[in-house]
């Protein structure tokens, strides 16, 4: 009786076959939507600095070298691959690539540098001032590029779609004041 149970054990043990992945020699594709190393497309980047502002690990640094050159530095060693930079980029210049084999001996090996050409204003000769603008107005920065001026004329404003009476009501609206004044 013990022999038959042993045979049964052997058959059971052999039936699943080999499950081990022969990884470094045979590669398996990553699942869909996997976020690997972010990759910058320097032809699309407008240098708005949204990625640098929103990076949770603050691993993207921006620095203006002079009036025309802005350098974006990505240090991959502390990147958490959250994909916020790719979600946020208004020009879709950042793509989360499926590359995950990033092991390196040095920190600099996983870094990326993008040198951006910032166009200056025709009138004042300075770059667009990012500091005094809010987040929505910062997106208007693209209007200062040659390439998207045409696209900008097609953009609709929110007020274009509103009914005229609703718009008039909105404009007539006043904040309720405190009783007795301030």
């Amino acid at each position: 009786m013990w022999l038959t149970s042993k045979i049964k054990q052997i058959v059971l043990a052999l039936s699943p076959g080999t499950v081990t992945l022969k990884y470094p020699f045979v590669k398996k594709p990553v699942p869909r939507g996997f976020r690997g190393q972010p990759v910058w497309d320097h032809t699309k980047c407008i240098g708005c600095g949204g990625c640098a502002n929103h990076c949770p690990a603050r691993t993207i640094l921006l620095r203006d070298l002079c009036q025309e050159i802005r350098v974006l530095l990505y240090d991959g060693s502390r990147c958490t691959y959250c994909g916020r930079c790719a979600d946020l980029c208004p020009e879709k210049a950042i793509v989360m690539s499926p590359e995950f084999e990033l092991a390196a001996g040095r920190r600099e090996d996983v870094s990326q540098t993008v040198e951006l050409f910032m166009l200056t204003c025709n009138r004042c000769g300075r770059c667009f001032d990012m500091e005094i603008k809010n987040a929505i107005d910062k997106l208007d920065l693209r209007g200062y590029r040659y390439d998207s001026l045409e696209a900008r004329t097609v953009l609709r404003r929110t007020t274009d779609r509103m009914a005229p009476e609703a718009l008039a009501e909105t404009e007539a609206y006043r904040r309720p004041e405190k009783i007795g004044g301030l």
Partner: protein, 179 residues
Amino acid sequence: MAALFARAAAKAFPKSLWLYHCNSGACNGCDIEILNVLTPYYDVERFGIKLVGSPRHADVMLLSGAVTRPTLPLVKRAYEAIPAPKLVFGVGSCAAGGGCWFDTYNVTGGGATAVPVDYLIPGCPPRPEAIIYGVALALGLVPQKSAPVELKQVEFPIDAYLRNKAWEERNVIYKLIKD
């Protein structure tokens, strides 16, 4: 340099690597992936790699987690207990460069502050394949894929004075990373 280091590692560790897994305040994500590497699916024992409980038996320290202030002396003591020659792998973004916590209070900011990290395996957490890739890189089985990338939108002429100034400023950025 990396190739030379791989050759040196192959000479220094001709046989099995025994790993000591050191958690220095990680969130357990990297630790789960390290254990995943030892399961039959990834089966890192193919390369003779084995997880050991004591640093005195180990060749390699797998460091996970941004080194917190309470664990800093313990990590140093564990590193000193490993007999030379020894390698340290920073597994995960926290151990590699500090992760989100690189300048947080109570965190010393990455494994490099406590022990010399020989190889970084970034990822949050790194895939089990990425950990295997890092170990295989140290063993010299695979070439290193990552290299620094430099992109430029426009190459336009600037006079030498400005260019020199630009290079100086760029080095300032590199100094910022080291802090």
